[in-house]
């Protein structure tokens, strides 16, 4: 009981929380116009553009090492996401979207474990909302252009092969899940994975620092070392999660486009 009181009286360790993600404005303005995360977003776009421009600039018939790497990256997304999901008939029109989305999200996510940068912009929900909104507009637009508004609504909300009496129950559910919940989960998935990963790294780093340097008591030093070791292990886990989330984001985008293009069931 006494230890508890002393802990409450002296809150030495402040666990990291959502407030740690609210980065200050670079020019110290009252309105948040330019933060580290928006700069990183621009940097990622520039990096992806420069990377693909450099690898495809020469366009040699027999590719060099650099061009080969660029073409391998491009054709991996084209074949394993575009062709396999959207289908042979009209995948090629969406390959530029899928490739640029994949590498944009991937580079942004990898910023989370690059030393010095160390912040994944998509751990702020607003950026993820923007990207998912873009995807939502594209797949709905593509569907409406292909089937007409009523035909598209019917495609998305009336599942085939079910008895008629259950349709009044299914149509609102399908409308909700296919047109309203999809962009929400698409953005929240990306955001929450980046957010949780960054929070874990913050927790182990600040916790290890506190245990090693500030805390007193038996066993705090070994616990601090353990915390840093766990932080490094979580860093490797983060790498896997970051690549996987970029893949999942683009895979789902391709699935939504393919669903919007599908002919009648």
């Amino acid at each position: 009981m006494t230890t508890h009181v002393s802990v409450l009286a002296n809150p030495g360790f402040v666990p990291p929380g959502p407030a740690d993600f609210q980065l200050p404005d670079i020019f110290n303005g009252n309105q948040v116009l330019l933060t580290k995360s928006s700069l990183l977003l621009v940097l990622a776009a520039v990096l992806v553009f420069v990377g693909f421009y450099a690898t495809s600039r020469r366009g040699a018939v027999v590719p060099g090492k650099l061009q080969y790497a660029g073409e391998a990256a491009y054709s991996w997304v084209r074949d394993s996401i575009g062709r396999d999901i959207i289908g042979e008939r009209d995948f090629i029109k969406y390959v530029p979207l899928l490739v640029s989305l994949f590498f944009f999200v991937l580079v942004n996510n990898l910023f989370g474990i690059v030393p010095i940068l160390q912040f994944a912009p998509f751990s702020r929900a607003g950026f993820a909302y923007g990207l998912a909104g873009l995807v939502w507009i594209i797949y709905n637009g593509v569907g409406v252009a292909r089937h007409g508004l009523l035909g598209y609504l019917k495609l998305q909300t009336v599942p085939g092969g079910v008895p008629t009496w259950i349709l009044p129950l299914l149509i609102p559910l399908e409308f909700l899940s296919n047109l309203l919940i999809r962009p929400v989960t698409l953005s929240l998935r990306l955001f929450a994975n980046m957010f949780a990963g960054h929070l874990l790294l913050l927790l182990f780093a600040t916790g290890g620092d506190y245990l090693l340097l500030h805390a007193t008591g038996p066993l705090v030093k070994p616990a601090g070392v353990l915390s840093f070791v766990m932080g490094i292990a979580v860093g490797f886990l983060e790498f896997i999660v970051e690549v996987l989330q970029a893949y999942v984001f683009v895979l789902l985008t391709a699935t939504y486009i393919s669903g919007a293009l599908a002919s009648e069931h």
């Binding site: 409450l8 394993s80 989960t185 895979l251």
Partner: protein, 70 residues
């Protein structure tokens, strides 16, 4: 015994059990399928990842609500 913190996090921990079991089942089926028919691996992989993403959405909604609801 006074204690700080939010009960939301305990609720979120409970809510994450369901998606956890679901994701386990999905990958168990994926590994099983690949072990029985290794040549199907490239066909099964996007399906498994898609199922994983859909099951994970439940946990994602949970963590969003755990921070939002007061």
């Amino acid at each position: 015994m006074a204690s700080g913190g939010s009960l939301n996090m305990i609720g979120y921990g409970l809510a994450a059990v369901g998606p956890g079991i679901g994701i386990g089942l999905i990958f168990a089926a994926y590994i099983n399928g690949t072990a029985r028919q290794p040549e199907m691996q490239s066909r099964l992989q996007p399906i498994a990842i898609l199922g994983f993403a859909l099951a994970e959405a439940l946990a994602i909604i949970g963590i969003a609500l755990a921070f939002v609801l007061k």
